[in-house]
Amino acid sequence: MTDTAERKPESLDRLVIRFAGDSGDGMQLTGDRFTSASALFGNDLATLPEFPAEIRAPAGTLAGVSAFQVHISDHRINTPGDAPNVLVAMNPAALKAELRGLEDGGTVIVNVDTFDERNLTKAGYTDNPLTDGSLDAYSVYEVPMTSLTKEAVIPAGVKPRDADRSKNFFALGLVTWMYTRPIDATLAWIEEKFGKNPMVHQANVLAFKAGHAFGETAELFDHTYQVAPAPQEPGTYTNISGNMALSWGLIAASQLAKLPLFLGSYPITPASDILHELSKHKNFGVRTLQAEDEIAGIGAALGAAFGGHIGITTTSGPGVALKSETMGLAISLELPLVIVDIQRGGPSTGLPTKTEAADLLLAMYGRHGESPLPIIAASTPSDCFEVAIEAVRIALEYRTPVILLSDGYLANGTEPWKLPDVDSLRPIEVEFATAPNHTSASGDPEYWPYVRDPETFARSWALPGTDGLMHRIGGIEKQEGSGNISYDPANHGEMVAVRAAKVAAVAKSIPPVEVTGDADADLLVLGWGSTWGAIATAVDRARAEGDRVAQLHLRHLNPFPPNLGEVLGRYRKVLVPEMNLGQLSRMIRAEFLVDARSVNKVEGTPFTAAELHAAITGALHD
């Protein structure tokens, strides 16, 4: 026995760990548990899960590597970290695929049991990297995780084949010890998750404890590390992913509007978790329909909206393409509807599990005819909650379909979220027509569905079942006011104009944008969506070096906030980082004649702060 456990842990202000293994190794779960323990401990954190599209790609190959990166700190952070400090590699393929990103001199913990000739060959190694000196620049810890796990779980009575499956808990136990994470929450979670199967439960507990004990007793590690809690505002916190926050935001919106929620959806990565989550909450009166296809998903949501429910459909890019005709119908019917697009790599099937933000122009222009609709985007996982409420608010108040853009990075990434006081959330007011609103030529009261509110241009909305207000609406152009079919040229021009004016009028309900950073900045970094964290970090670094830089991040992309043009005019240079080839920058240039410069990355992974810092420095000093 050594005395390492007695030594005081070394303090770190931040730590980035990347867990990597085969798709079947349970690395997402390991990362998720490490994250949860750190959140409960009080660290600030951000996560980046990355996994292949295949459920089980061939074992041991580079294609099958699944990774989870978590950044924990004792101060406020905005990103999952640029270069990991620690890589946990469960097999040679994970080492080969992930070593590239590790910081110079970083720590590598490998499951040495898997470094046999067969696995090395599968990973494309001709020599064993553990012995050929190629890892000399790193601190390498070789841990026989498979064999130690198998030995540890013998008392549980599991078959040797199944024993191997607990090795992710061994790895979790080891890093839990190394970074002095609390163990109670993890043990409680194992109990909750596996309690129904005592043998598996016991095996996972034994593996976790064995990993923890190994750290403590093996002479491999000379001391542990500590990352202190980050100062946080008082309140109750939870660790939240974007898709979870978005689901809860939709439920909150339903409560705030006092209207039931109806989700019509078809499974698609990375949006399916919203369907899963909402389907659990039927006691909130939530109806979920797993439709026969994407088109039926939005169709059913639109039918429900006609009936007075909050119609929602959730999807990703390919599904948005399929839904576009129904969005056009919703624009013509002027009914509320929210289309949630969790963007992923495209075109076509593209990179289903990788992030991208290249659907902005699809959202803007991806329908035939003049068919504008409001577009809003979330910037962090927890922001998805507020943005979901905002999307429902706009849809209901303006009787319009709204596209909500998130992406795979926000959807699966997590961060600590200070829970809002639900009583402080602003109610959403919706007024339904209850009486005739027009007098016919013969002097009889009648109901006209296309009579508008003079402020919002929202049309009157009468629900089926309302006495005396029977009316028909359809996709054929209609007479303004009466809603009857009209092929009159002047009326069509008027309807096109009023639909555009209605969407433009949404701007009046949007708060003016606020810029952060230097008031007299030479450069404004303008962003939207999940780039917020990397931009904020990069701007902080540039300012720390003495550069004068400001940041502006847009939630509302159509219409833009009312003061955006004026704000953009204050800066000599405007830089627009996007995970596409320059879609917002194109809109900004067209709308405001601003010489917005585009910074692009379309590689299926988010920007790092370092990349954006370099872009800022380059733009300032070119």
């Binding site: 009080g42 109750t236 109806f262 009166g285 639109l302 039918g303 009936g307 809002p420 029977m470 028909r472």
Partner: protein
């Protein structure tokens, strides 16, 4: 039901000019529906007609109810959402053979297998009318149209067989030349709990005139239409001289009743445990040139989808109480910072 104020046919009509071609079969279907509605003890306010695109899909504009004229093929999906959101409403779907069997075929079969509470009127004229005369998924093979100058190569759908295959709980056929038969069929379809589909042979006098004349013409009906009546032997023709038997290979066949033992004539059972009999009957005519069964092929009870949805919601509320947003936000692991 007695709390519904009485209405007349006129109450169900709108002030909109009906814009079908003069002589179109759609007029008689509209009349049949408008005359039937006052007899159904339903309120106009609680009735919604949902349609897709096509000539038939203009139907909602002519009914003084709530209505949605939507996009091509999607009416069953849109109506599904409406019916699930508002189980208090009476939701009808109206569409043609192109709308419901071609572009919307997927939505139709899924609405049927789910057994959503919809009354679906499928106007089958075996042609595309609104786009001016292309062949449809029910057009006969060899059909010469603008898009098939050398004759169509497609095997047509048999809508009755398709609906039975999709596990529909109510499947019937009627035609536009017999208002009484239409009304009785629609009445039963409307009374059915779950998805009811009625195929209506409908004449398009501009692009496919006389497609059903061989069987629906007044002089031909007796010998060419086979009325299906639950619990009755399947017989037709002058004085019931013809009948349907199921032969040893499991095929329905038309015979002269005099040529067989009367006990061999099959008795119609619309509630049979399987759709086998209804399917065999659906195969009697390969085109409306041959004796064709009309009436209710199948009418069985199965859990209605909307009711099942409501039961799940009520069950969840019983078990967990009404939703508590604050508790939901705290349902994961939380920690307090003071």
């Amino acid at each position: 039901m007695t709390d519904v104020a009485p209405t007349t046919r006129k109450d169900w009509q709108t002030d909109q000019e009906v814009r079908w071609c003069p002589g179109c079969g759609d007029y008689s279907i509209l009349t049949a529906v408008q005359m039937l509605m006052p007899e159904l003890d339903v309120r106009r306010e609680d009735t919604v007609f949902v349609s897709g695109i096509g000539c038939a899909a203009r139907f909602p504009y002519y009914m003084n109810t709530y209505g949605m004229h939507t996009i091509h093929g999607r009416a069953p999906a849109i109506a599904t959402g409406l019916a699930l959101a508002r189980p208090d409403l009476d939701v009808w779907v109206v569409g043609g053979d192109g709308d419901l069997l071609s572009i919307g075929g997927n939505h139709l079969i899924h609405a049927l297998r789910r057994n959503v509470n919809l009354t679906i009127l499928l106007f089958n004229n075996q042609i595309y009318g609104l786009t001016k005369g292309q062949y449809s998924p029910t057009s006969e093979r060899g059909k010469v149209t603008k898009s098939t100058p050398f004759g169509s190569l497609d095997q047509p759908f048999n809508p009755i067989a398709l609906a039975l295959g999709a596990q529909a709980t109510f499947v019937a056929r009627t035609h536009d030349m017999d208002r009484q038969h239409m009304q009785e069929t629609f009445r039963r379809a409307h009374a059915h709990k779950g998805a009811a589909v009625v195929e209506i042979y409908q004449n398009c006098n501009v692009f496919n005139d006389g497609a059903f004349a061989t069987i629906t013409g007044k002089a031909n009906r007796e010998s060419m239409l086979i009325p299906l009546e639950h619990g009755q032997p399947v017989r037709f023709g002058p004085e019931g001289s013809k009948g349907v038997v199921i032969d040893d290979s499991g095929q329905a066949r038309i015979v002269e009743v005099d040529d067989v033992d009367e006990s061999e004539i099959v008795t119609h059972d619309e509630q049979a445990p399987t759709a086998a009999l209804a399917f065999m009957l659906s195969q009697l005519a390969s085109s409306p040139e041959e004796p064709t069964p009309v009436g209710v092929f199948r009418a069985v009870e199965r859990d209605e989808y909307g009711e099942a949805v409501e039961r799940q919601i009520a069950g969840a509320q019983d078990q967990r109480g009404p939703g508590d947003l604050s508790a939901l936000l705290r349902s994961g692991a939380t920690w307090d910072v003071v």
